[in-house]
Amino acid sequence: MMSRHEGIEAALTKKIQQGGKCLVPYITGGFSGYLETISAAADAGADAIEIGIPFSDPVMDGPTIQMANDVVLSKGITPERILNDIASLEIDVPLAIMTYYNVVYRYGLERFAAELKESAISGAILPDLPLLEAKPWMDTAAKSSIETILFAAPTTTDEQLPEICENSSGFVYAVGLLGVTGAREELASSAQVIARRCKEVTDKPVLVGVGIGTPKQAQEVAKVSDGCIVGSAIVQRLLDGGGAESVGEFVTELRTALDTI
């Protein structure tokens, strides 16, 4: 059994050692019913959960997550409110927040790291904070035992890749394709390529995200990677009004697919 407090890397490593594949669903924080949805995803077999804190200018996100962001922002829901909500959430899988660096910068790095810790959030994913700029945040985060999950992109060079993997904690977020978040018809050929490249240089969990939207795609990419992150396909179910139930069913399908590789 996972524990929310043991941290992401520990939980995922345990899973991998047991021969399993890791599933990390993404859910937009602040979206109507999101707390129930997080619980439903946990119950359906998520190994860790990524919670988005909406930002006004999400350059790494495609139309689905942008739309969910706008819905939350237009209701005036603040990052603080989302973090407070999560603090009181009773759930036993580790959590990461995904947001953009300005949200963190505006909070103040120390204060933000402390708030994450207080809300029992283990990790942070900041897509506009590349390794080159990440040191001040990573140093601060480490002091609060917050794991900073870094991105390895298809364009990342062979020289840069080991350094990214080495500095990432929690897992390595391998970007499955050249592009922003969003479900695609087919799994991009780049998804397995980047997973393989990461696996060659690191023992940390390697999860592929961006462009993974179906159980079949999850299964296909996890033949090479240690698992995957599924975001837009889940958020689309929330936008369609499916709520926690629909997301729970979908996560179960993804779980089954990953368990039958």
Binding site: S56, T78, E80, R106, D128, L131, G179, V180
Partner: protein, 384 residues
């Protein structure tokens, strides 16, 4: 002193940086290397100089404005970037970047545009070099700058509306960055101002340095000294950086003028958006606020990082003017000098007009960054 090469990771003082998705890091690093090589290559410099001369019509003249000077009580000199091909200073940067992109083997240009001047310039360069061109433009701006949208299409560019957020320049930049994340292998992001991740703020400044360099020697020819004040409008701040660069090491006072609804220096807070750390209008949670300006080209909640630095060290100061003051200035220059300015540089004139007492007897060089044809329709409605 000021305005040298930024430090590693593109810092001007504490501002700047490379806050972009990891996917784009190799592209920005390649761009930095390619730009450095090109900029120190005599072949590249000659090719660009020839283009600026034969195609864009440089050097642009300076014009002494007798009637306006009389009206304002100070000696006004205009740097005539409005006379460049495509009607604004934007062509300097775009020819440089397109030439560089070609050198790097890129076949497609992606750009954002506010007023459409940078979009038109990029579409022009793409046509000239036979490159594919996609320009993102906020839906609101597409409406208020219909003429430039038509010009871009005529030049063979595809204009794609940015429909998220405030549907203005800020959102067009988001869309252009998303495009670039997906197409980085064959596309060059032709960013239109001194903003974004390193090396853009530095590279775009270098491409606009020609404005300040020309203006400096023209002032020495005509006045035999530097002007007392050098002023320019500031959205991202490319035309201002261009003209400031020629005078930063002189005694001249440097004054940037922002729209009141987008006064990033006065009302902004340091933050990270669109790749660099600078002053941005934002709320207490770091959500970027929408700027509000009559001028689509200045309708931006941030400012280039080097301007933030120049403000911080006190080398330049930044004023703000209201839309109403801009509309007055737009008419003032038209009436007194027979020059219809773009709404953007009309901001700088609006400041001069309002603060004329403090400028009394001084010589002021104003960078007239663009011509006003694009704004005629909009002003027809405003003025009735």
């Amino acid at each position: 002193m000021a305005m040298n090469e930024p430090t590693e990771l593109g810092r001007f003082g504490k501002f700047g940086g490379m806050f972009i998705p990891e996917t784009l890091i190799p592209a920005c690093q390649e761009l930095e290397i390619a730009f450095k090589q090109a900029w120190s290559s005599t072949d590249f410099r000659k090719e660009l100089d020839d283009l600026l001369h034969d195609y864009a019509g440089r050097p642009s003249p300076i014009t002494r404005c007798d009637r306006l000077s009389e009206e304002l009580g100070c000696q006004v000199i205009l740097k005539r970037e409005d006379l460049n091909h495509t009607g604004s200073h934007k062509i300097n940067n775009v020819l440089g970047q397109a030439l560089l992109a070609k050198r790097m083997g890129k076949t497609r240009l992606v750009a954002e545009t506010g007023a459409g001047q940078h979009g038109v310039a990029t579409a022009t360069a793409a046509a000239l070099f036979g490159m594919e061109c996609v320009v993102y433009m906020g839906e609101v701006d597409i409406e208020r700058q219909a003429l430039n949208v038509f010009r871009m299409r005529l030049l063979g560019a595809e204009v794609r509306p940015a429909v998220s957020g405030s549907r203005t320049l800020k959102d067009a930049i988001n869309e252009a960055m998303r495009d670039w994340v997906a197409t980085v292998e064959d596309s060059h992001y032709c960013l239109g101002s001194v903003m974004g991740p390193h090396p853009y703020p530095w590279m775009v400044r270098e491409f606009h340095r020609v404005i300040g360099a020309e203006a400096y020697s023209q002032c020495m020819d005509v006045l035999d000294r530097v002007p007392d004040v050098v002023t320019a409008c500031v959205g991202g701040g490319s035309n201002a950086i261009g003209i400031f660069s020629g005078f930063v090491d002189t005694e001249a006072e440097l004054v940037g003028v922002e729209p009141a609804g987008g006064a990033a220096i006065e009302r902004g807070i340091p933050g990270v958006v669109h790749g660099s750390l600078s002053y941005i209008l934002q709320d207490e949670w770091g959500q970027v606020l929408e700027a509000e300006s009559i001028s689509a080209g200045l309708d931006y909640p941030g400012i280039g990082p080097e301007h933030a630095h120049l403000a911080d060290i006190g080398r330049a100061r930044y004023e703000k003017v209201t839309d109403a003051e801009v509309i007055e200035a737009f008419q003032l220059l038209s009436r007194t000098e027979g020059i219809i300015p773009a709404l953007e540089p009309a901001h700088a004139l609006a400041w001069m007009s309002r603060d004329r007492e403090s400028l009394s007897g001084k010589t002021v060089l104003l960078n007239l960054s663009g011509r006003g044809d694009k704004d005629a329709m909009q002003m027809m409605e405003v003025l009735g």
